[in-house]
C-alpha cells in the first residue's frame, strides 16, 4: 500500500478505496458503529437523536418552503397562503415546519431536563453542556425570526416587542433597535434580514451540533447512574444496540408529530397570526409562542424595564456557569435525595412561569411569576451551590454492569477508557 494512505479494514473494494483516501467510513464506524456506549440508557437518552432528526426535518422543509415564500411585506402573507392552497403538498410542508418548531423545543427541553436530572453538565462534560446552551440560544433566535416570516399580526407585534427589548440597554439601546430594524419600525428591511438570518442560522446550528457531538465522543455519554463505565462489560457498541433503540423512540416521536400535524395543525399557533400584519393595530393580548412563555413571564415579573430584560437573558445565560454552580461530585439525582426534590420543584416553577407568560400581566399571574422567577434563580444560585456541602448522597453502585448483571466486579483500572473491540 502506498504510503500516506489510511489503513482501512473494509472488505468492499470501493469502500476500501475511498476509505483509504478519506476515512469517512472508518470515522462513521468508530463514532456510530463500535462507539462504546453505557449499556444502561433509558428512553430519555433518545432525545438527542430526536433533536438531530428534527433539525434535519426543519432544514429540509424550510428549504422547500423558501422556494415558494416571498420575503416582502406586501406578499409574505399571501405567499404563505399560496403555499397552503396551491403548492403541491405545500400545506404539509408548512404544517410540518410550523409544528416542527414546537416539537423541536419539546425535544430539546426534555433533552436539557435530562441533562439537569442526571448531572450531564458536570466534569468532564462542561464544554459539551455549554455547546448545548449555544445551540439552544441559536434555536431561540431562529424560531423567533421564523415566526415573523408569515407576517401575521403576532409575527409583526412579536417582532416589535422582542426587538424593543434591546432598547432597555442604556445609552445605545435605541440606536441598536433602529439598527436591528433597518428603519424606524419593523418593516420590509426587517422582514428581509430576518428571512436571510432564519435561513442561515440552522446551518450554524448544524455546525455547533457537530462540535456538540464531537465533544460527546471525547468524554463519552453520561448515563442514568452518573458513574463512569469501568470496562467493556459496562458498555455496548452504539450499533446495533442504540441505533435500534433510537429508532423505536423515533417512530414513537413521529406518531406524536403526525397527530399534531395532521389533526391539530393550529393547536400550538395563535389565531391572530392568520390576520395580516397591521402596524396600526396591536392585538388585545400579545403572547409569544409557547416555548418562550417562561422567559416572557420572567421579563414581566420585574417592574423595571432594564431589570426585566437582564433577568430574562440571565435565565438562560446562567446555564453556562451551571457546571460550576453545582458543587456536588455526584452526577445523577437518583442518589441526591434533596437535589432531586429541588429540581422537580424547579420543573414545576418552569411550568408555572409558562402559564404566567400566557396570562395578562395582572393579579395572581404576577405574584406567581415573581415566586417562580425567584425560585428559578434560587435553584441555580443558592440551592445547588449549598447542597453540595449539606446533602448526603446515597451510596453509589460499584459499576454500571453490576446492578444490571449481578456479576462483573471491579476491573483493572487500565480497562476504564479502552474502547470496545470490534465485534
Amino acid at each position: 500500500m502506498a504510503s500516506g494512505l489510511h489503513q482501512s479494514d473494509f472488505k468492499n473494494p470501493v469502500v476500501r478505496w475511498i476509505d483509504a483516501r478519506l476515512p469517512v467510513f472508518t470515522m462513521m464506524e468508530k463514532e456510530y458503529g463500535t462507539f462504546p456506549t453505557p449499556r444502561n440508557f433509558n428512553y430519555l437518552w433518545n432525545f438527542g437523536a430526536l433533536a438531530m432528526v428534527t433539525l434535519l426535518i426543519m432544514i429540509a422543509t424550510g428549504i422547500f418552503l423558501a422556494m415558494n415564500y416571498t420575503p416582502h411585506v406586501n406578499h409574505a402573507f399571501d405567499s404563505v397562503e399560496r403555499i397552503m392552497r396551491d403548492v403541491n403538498y405545500g400545506w404539509l410542508l408548512r404544517y410540518v415546519h410550523a409544528n416542527g418548531a414546537s416539537m423541536f423545543f419539546i425535544v430539546v427541553y426534555v433533552h436539557i431536563w435530562r441533562g439537569l436530572y442526571y448531572g450531564s453538565y458536570k466534569a468532564p462534560r462542561e464544554l459539551l453542556w455549554m455547546l448545548g446552551v449555544v445551540i439552544f440560544l441559536l434555536m431561540m433566535a431562529t424560531a423567533f425570526m421564523g415566526y415573523v416570516l408569515p407576517w401575521g399580526q403576532m409575527s409583526f407585534w412579536g417582532a416589535t416587542v422582542i426587538t424593543n427589548l434591546f432598547s432597555a440597554i442604556p445609552l445605545v439601546g435605541d440606536s441598536i433597535v433602529t439598527w436591528l430594524w433597518g428603519g424606524f419600525s419593523v418593516d420590509n428591511p426587517t422582514l428581509n434580514r430576518f428571512f436571510s438570518l432564519h435561513y442561515l442560522l440552522p446551518f450554524v446550528i448544524v455546525g455547533v451540533v457537530f462540535l456538540h457531538v464531537a465533544a460527546l465522543h471525547i468524554t463519552g455519554s453520561n448515563n442514568p447512574l452518573g458513574i463512569d463505565p469501568k470496562g467493556p462489560q459496562d458498555t455496548v457498541p452504539f450499533h446495533p444496540y442504540y441505533t435500534v433503540k433510537d429508532s423505536v423512540g423515533l417512530v414513537a416521536y413521529f406518531v406524536v408529530f403526525a397527530v399534531l400535524v395532521f389533526f391539530f395543525p393550529n393547536l400550538l399557533g395563535h389565531p391572530d397570526n392568520y390576520i395580516p400584519a397591521n402596524p396600526l393595530v396591536t392585538p388585545p393580548h400579545i403572547v409569544p409562542e409557547w416555548y418562550f412563555l417562561p422567559y416572557y413571564a420572567i421579563l414581566r415579573a420585574v417592574p423595571n424595564k432594564l431589570g426585566g430584560v437582564v433577568l430574562m437573558f440571565s435565565s438562560i445565560l446562567i446555564l453556562f456557569v451551571l457546571p460550576w454552580l453545582d458543587t456536588s461530585p455526584v452526577r445523577s439525582m437518583r442518589f441526591r435525595p434533596i437535589a432531586r426534590i429541588a429540581l422537580l420543584l424547579w420543573t414545576v416553577a418552569f411550568f408555572v412561569l409558562m402559564w404566567c407568560g400566557s396570562q395578562p400581566p395582572e393579579g395572581i399571574a404576577v405574584v406567581l411569576a415573581r415566586i417562580g422567577t425567584a425560585y428559578y434563580f434560587a435553584y441555580f444560585l443558592v440551592i445547588l451551590p449549598l447542597l453540595g456541602w449539606f446533602e448526603r448522597p446515597l451510596p453509589l453502585p460499584e459499576s454500571i454492569a453490576r446492578p444490571v448483571l449481578r456479576g462483573g466486579g471491579p476491573l483493572p483500572a487500565g480497562a476504564t477508557s479502552k474502547p470496545m473491540e470490534k465485534a
Binding site: 404539509l92 417512530v251 395578562p360
Partner: protein, 264 residues
C-alpha cells in the same frame, strides 16, 4: 428496578409537559376573554378526526356568501376555480366567474379595462382598497374572510354564534351610533348590522328552508372549507400515516427486543 421505573416516570413527565403546554394554550383564550360568553358547539360535519365537509352545505354557504357577505367582505385568497372542489361543475364555475366584471390590463393602449371573470381569477373584492372599505362602512373595516375560521378563537363555531348572536342590548347598555349588540362579539358592540334576516335573502336550489340559523350554519361551513381546503386530504393522510407508523413502531420494538435479548 428503581432505575427503570424512574425512566418511565421521566417519559411520562415529558408527555405531561406537552399536555400542560397544550392545555395552557387552550385555556389561555378562555381566561383572557373574561366577561364573554362561552361559544356553543354548532355541530359541524367536519369536526372530529374523520369529519368531512358536507358538500351541499358548503355550496349553500357559498350562495349565502355570494348574495349577502360579498357585498362588504372580500375573500382574496380564493379563486373561482376553487369552487370546483366543493362539487360545482366546470361550466357552473365558468358561469359564476363570468357573472362578475374584473379589472385587467393594461391593454395595448395602456388602459386598464373590465372583462368578465375567468375561473383563474381571484374572488372579486367589493372595495378596491382598505380606505374605500372603511369609507363605505362607517369607518369599520370588514375583515377578509379567506382564513377567518383559523383567525378567530372558536373557528366556525364562533362564526355561527356571531351570526345568530344579535339581540337588543340589555338594559343599561347604550350602543354607539351605527353599532349593533352581539353577545358573542368581544366588547358586544359590533359595526356589522345583523347580516342575515331570513326572508328570501337567499334562494336555495335544493329546497332547504333559508332560515337565519340554516344560513349561518351553511356559511360557517363554507368559510371553514375556505380557510382549510386541505382538511379532508390532511386527515385522510394522517390516518394512514398514524397506522403506518404504529405498525413500523411495533416492528421496530420487536427488533429492539431481539437485539437486546442477548444482553440481559
Amino acid at each position: 428496578m428503581f432505575g427503570f421505573r424512574f425512566s418511565l416516570r421521566g417519559g411520562r413527565s415529558a408527555l405531561r409537559a406537552l399536555a400542560v403546554a397544550g392545555g395552557l394554550l387552550a385555556a389561555s383564550p378562555a381566561l383572557a376573554a373574561e366577561g364573554e360568553i362561552a361559544i356553543p358547539n354548532a355541530n359541524f360535519s367536519f369536526q372530529g378526526l374523520f369529519g368531512t365537509f358536507d358538500r351541499a352545505a358548503v355550496q349553500r354557504g357559498f350562495l349565502v356568501y355570494k348574495d349577502v357577505c360579498a357585498a362588504c367582505h372580500s375573500m382574496q385568497q380564493l379563486y373561482y376555480r376553487n369552487l370546483q372542489e366543493i362539487g360545482l361543475s366546470e361550466a357552473q364555475v365558468r358561469a359564476i366567474a363570468a357573472s362578475v366584471e374584473v379589472q385587467d390590463g393594461p391593454n395595448d393602449e395602456g388602459q386598464m379595462f373590465e372583462r368578465p371573470g375567468r375561473p383563474s381569477d381571484r374572488f372579486r373584492r367589493p372595495f378596491p382598497n382598505e380606505q374605500a372599505a372603511r369609507a363605505a362602512n362607517n369607518g369599520a373595516l370588514p375583515p377578509d374572510l379567506s382564513v377567518i375560521t383559523k383567525a378567530r378563537e372558536g373557528g366556525a363555531n364562533y362564526i355561527y354564534a356571531l351570526l345568530t348572536g344579535y339581540s337588543d342590548p340589555p338594559e343599561g347598555v347604550t350602543l354607539m351610533p351605527g353599532m349593533s349588540y352581539n353577545k358573542y362579539f368581544p366588547g358586544h358592540q359590533i359595526a356589522m348590522a345583523p347580516p342575515l334576516s331570513g326572508e328570501g335573502q337567499v334562494e336555495y336550489t335544493d329546497g332547504t328552508k333559508a332560515t337565519v340559523e340554516q344560513m349561518a350554519h351553511d356559511v360557517a361551513t363554507f368559510l371553514a372549507w375556505a380557510s382549510e381546503p386541505e382538511m379532508e386530504v390532511r386527515k385522510a393522510l394522517g390516518v394512514r400515516m398514524v397506522l403506518f407508523l404504529t405498525i413500523l413502531g411495533c416492528l421496530a420494538y420487536a427488533v429492539k427486543r431481539k437485539v437486546w435479548a442477548d444482553l440481559h
